[in-house]
Every structure is written in structure tokens, then in C-alpha cells.
Symmetry: C2
């Protein structure tokens, strides 16, 4: 398939299925093929097959490593010499810092002063230069460092390579489901900026085109639902709160939205309490440690927002980088 | 290799390497090939390669499924008709109940009245008949049901097939390590009755004979250390306490001890606090939810009871069936 790069340079090209396949080859050395697991007990209880893609087992703790590895792996020699920049308080920053070290380039990660100290410390331990700024200055400082030092900015979702990398989750899932004699009727993805959801739609486009894809958001942070209703990217006003920090960003990413629009089967929103209950089920039924924002797709199934109805429904468990105090409280909250 | 069944009927034959290979083929349909994971961060911090075998992701929540599946899978048609019996409050009972249902036989699981209600309920949900008795009557009631109903008793460790099934953990581990370009210099197993440790020694005997194997016990429940010192199986007096319930049994199993004696490199003992700290590391560094007794081998590495010293050290994370209140408390206890 020929990739069509639109003549309008302002429009970012959309990755093709072949770009997702190339991404899978590119990231293979750096990322774990995470298992696709199921629980006979839950299958029986919910009346279908529930498959969970355990991206919480990914090396740096989330699926974000896939996009970062694909982006950094595709840098030119010159770009590699100049280095990269990311703005993130969490999973994306960890992934970028880890990849930079592994692939012989340097990274600056701009983190908000509200970020947990442990995450900033780990990012630094991976060898990145950490720049701490007030949340409101995050984008400006990242842009400034990028321009001043001639580095390449690696966005968390709004990027050709990052979306293609995220799409490898779907390629693996379809192949793993086939080994379990299953086809994926429905896929639920945890969703914030939309990178994972968009990547999976592209990855499924040729391997399992009939799969219905839903995006699951944190209640109060329904950027996708709002954007779909408006027909364009709608950002959120600051001030909301959710324990699902990994998916409580304020911005809908443009490239993912362009891909998702018209292809998504729907959205669901999950409360903090529902996410905590899903964290408990991930622990006791699957042996998986997940962070709240990574439990929302599972939560949508457990709360029967979407019934299994004899179908095979896959969900992403997209990360594990929870504050342990918060995770401990979630487990005890019965 | 010819299996030598000793003429003395009282002596249980020891599984050969071929028996472990046969077990792996027999259980393949029922058990997950659990991943072997590592953390670049911990590798760097501890100065070597640490590989964790995530048996906490096993279908019924622990490696016990392997032994149960091998035992039930090898029943004769007549035995299958008569059914099986197990005595267990936890992981073994879950595994036996699950296998019985899957392989078309019936199970009676005798549980102590001190067992958590959730575990007994799950055993019943898998379709087993649950008989609740005072702990002191556990063995007698199980023997009675076995005799009266003509069923086959499936012991948790002291059994040819159960040990052979547990040994499949080592076969998988060696093959998975090879894919990571690693050989296993040292293996640390979580240890109670000794079934997993014995099985792994047999599984390694031809695939990685130079691997040094250590057994890790809960402090106050050092049956293996005591038995090795005495040169024979030494049981414990009741009355001790550990949060590591999965490995705080009182009995050293005879068949495993026969295999382990003279082959084990040594033992370590881990406190409750050290096990809890390892549960936190399993969560944050690997995304794995483990129960305290399944975290002791990892704990031995994290507390540097055995230094990595540039070597590759593998540990078993053998189960996840923790009380969630207890697990939550462990995560918060920093």
C-alpha cells in the first residue's frame, strides 16, 4: 500500500498498516511481547471471553514504551546526535528516557512540579536531564528547550511514529488471540490523548477489520466523547480531579482524533471507584498490578457497561506506574 | 532414559527428566506459559541479571496448577470415574478443583475452618465439593473421604506426578532465558513442602545442570533448612505465625526431600517485612501482583542475601492468591 502524504504540510500523514508492521519490527529488541491473559472464572461469570492485554508488564511500566521506541528508533543519525525532548510527568517520560539511553541519544524530560518525586527520580536514573517547571509552563518550556538545543520533540500521542508504535499492541493481540482460538469481536482501550486507540484502529484495519473499538475515559476527563460530539478536538478546562492520572490530561491529540473520527464504535466513562474495583480484580483474577488509569477498560466490562453476550472482548491494561499508597488503598477498599 | 521403579513399594519412584518433559506436554492445554521478565533498572541496581518467573499469572493463581494438571491428566479412566480428593485451604485446592472440572472428573476439597471464605467459595465455584473441618482433622478427614468414596488423593507436594508437573517451571524458564541470551547461574525457589524446588532440580538436571538451586523459606517455617541439617524430614510444631500463608505449612514432603537432599546449594529465610517489601517491588518494577509467600525468593535477592555479582539469578514468583486487605497493607507499608 502506498502511503499518501497530503500536499498540505500542516497535515501530519496517517500511518498505514505497513507502518505499524514496520514499527513492530523496529521496537522488537526494546519492548516485551506482553501476554494476553484470560480468567475462566470471569469468562463464566460474565458470559463470554474476556482477554486482557497486560501492557502493565511492559519494560518501563506502560505501553508508552512502544511509541517512544518507534520514534527514537527512527531518528536520523543527525537527530540522534542532537537528542530529544519530552514533556511528561509519567509513563511517556519514563519511556523516552529509557529509549534515549538504550539507543545512544540524550533526552531532556520536562516534568511538572506536581509530579511524584519517585517518577522524576526514575527518569533521571535512566540518564535523562529532568527540568522541573510549574504545570502551566510545561509546553512552553519543552518547546523552548527543543528550539534552543536543536532537539527533536517526542509528543506523547500527537505523532506519526508514536501512534504507529502504539498500534503494535493490536498486532500482537490479534496474533495472540488466534493462538487461543479466539477472534476479537470488541476491543476496549484506555484513552486519554487517543494515541493507543488510534494506533489500535490502524493495527486492526487489516488483521481484524470487523473488531468494534471503544475508547474508555475517566469520568470528568471525557475528551474523546466531547470531541466526537463536537466533530473536532475539544480540550478540557483545568480543575477536574481523578485518581486516573495517566488519562486525566486536558488535551485531545489531533493526529489520533483524525484517525479515530468515524471509526470508533463508541466511548465509556469510568469513575474512580470503578477503576479501583478493577484494580482489585486485576490483582486477584489475573495477578496483574495496574494503575487506576490503566484499569478503566477492564472496569467498563466489570460494570457491564458493555455486556460480553457470548462475544470475545479484549481490553488493554496499559500501565502499572501507580503511587503505591494509592494502589494499596484501592486494594483495601472493599 | 529408563525409569527405575524401586522394588520396595513403600518408596515412591523419583520422576526422571523425561517425566518432566511428558508433564509439559500433558499440561500444555490447561496451563499458561508464564513469562520470564526482567527489569533493566533492578539489573543495574543489583549488578547482574534478575529474571522473574511470573507463575502468579498462572490460570488458578499459582504454579500449583501444573502439578494438579499433570496428576489429574494422568488418571486412568477408572480413577477419573471415581474422582479425586485434596486437602488444602488455598492454591492447591483451587488447582485441583479447576482441573477436575476441566478434565471431567469430580473433586472433594477438604479445607480447614480457618481458610478465608473467598478461597473456599472459589473452590466451590469451580465445581468441587468443599468439606470444612477443624485444621487438626484435615488429614484424617481427607483420608477418610478417599477411602470411603474410592477416590484418588492428590497431595500438594508428596506425589510423583505433582513433582513432575512443578518441574515444568524449570523447563520453561531455561528455554525462555535462552531467548533472552541468558543462562541461569542461580535459581531461587519459594519453598514449603519442597515440591517446586524438587521439580525444578529435576527439570534443570539435563537442561542446565550447572545451575545452583536455593530454597527460600519463611522465617519460623524453615522445614527445609531443618531437614537438611538433620538429614531427614523434620516437621514443625504448630503455633508459629507468618503472613506467608502459602509456605507456612508444617510438613516437609518426603519425595521432594529425597530429591533435594545432596543437590541443593542452600537455603535462605525471609521475614514478613522482607516479603512485603518484595511485594512492593513486584508491583512497581514488574507490574506483578503476588502473595507474600510467593515473594520470598525475590526478597532474598532484594535483601542481598545472595548477591548477583554479575550473574544471572532467576526467582520464582509462585502465586497471587493474597488476601487483598493484607496485600493493600503491604503496598502502603513504606
Amino acid at each position: 500500500m502506498l502511503r499518501t502524504v497530503p500536499p498540505d504540510a500542516a497535515v501530519v500523514p496517517i500511518p498505514t498498516f505497513e507502518d505499524i508492521q514496520a514499527a513492530l519490527r523496529r521496537i522488537g529488541r526494546y519492548c516485551t511481547e506482553t501476554p494476553l491473559l484470560e480468567s475462566p472464572y470471569l469468562n463464566q461469570k460474565y458470559g463470554g471471553r474476556l482477554l486482557v492485554k497486560a501492557e502493565n508488564l511492559q519494560v518501563t511500566g506502560s505501553f508508552k514504551l512502544r511509541g517512544a521506541a518507534n520514534r527514537v528508533g527512527a531518528l536520523t543519525a543527525d537527530e540522534r546526535r542532537r537528542g530529544i525532548v519530552a514533556r511528561s510527568s509519567g509513563n511517556h517520560g519514563l519511556a523516552v528516557a529509557y529509549c534515549a539511553r538504550l539507543m545512544g541519544t540524550s533526552a531532556v524530560v520536562v516534568v511538572p512540579d506536581t509530579a511524584p518525586a519517585a517518577k522524576a527520580e526514575r527518569i533521571a536514573a535512566y540518564g535523562a536531564r529532568v527540568v522541573t517547571v510549574p504545570m502551566k509552563d510545561l509546553a512552553a518550556v519543552a518547546a523552548d528547550v527543543t528550539a534552543r538545543e536543536g532537539r527533536v520533540l517526542v509528543p506523547p500521542a500527537d505523532d506519526f511514529w508514536v501512534v504507529a508504535g502504539a498500534g503494535t499492541v493490536a498486532l500482537e493481540m490479534v496474533a495472540q488471540a488466534a493462538k487461543l482460538d479466539a477472534g476479537i469481536d470488541v476491543l476496549l482501550t484506555c484513552c486519554s490523548g487517543g494515541g493507543l486507540t488510534a494506533g489500535c484502529l490502524l493495527g486492526l484495519s487489516e488483521t481484524s477489520p470487523a473488531t468494534q473499538v471503544y475508547a474508555v475515559e475517566a469520568t470528568g476527563f471525557e475528551k474523546m466523547a466531547n470531541s466526537l460530539a463536537a466533530g473536532e478536538c475539544v480540550d478540557l478546562a483545568p480543575g477536574g480531579h481523578s485518581i486516573c492520572d495517566a488519562i486525566s490530561g486536558l488535551y485531545m491529540a489531533k493526529l489520533p482524533f483524525q484517525i479515530i473520527k468515524g471509526r470508533l464504535a463508541g466511548t465509556f466513562a469510568v469513575t474512580d471507584g470503578e477503576a479501583q474495583a478493577a484494580m482489585r480484580v486485576a490483582f486477584s483474577e489475573f495477578g496483574l498490578a495496574v494503575e487506576p488509569g490503566a484499569a478503566v477498560a477492564l472496569a467498563a466490562v466489570l460494570t457491564r457497561k458493555i455486556p460480553l453476550d457470548g462475544r470475545t472482548v479484549a481490553v488493554t491494561l496499559s500501565g502499572r506506574n501507580a503511587d503505591l499508597d494509592l494502589a494499596g488503598a484501592a486494594l483495601r477498599q472493599v
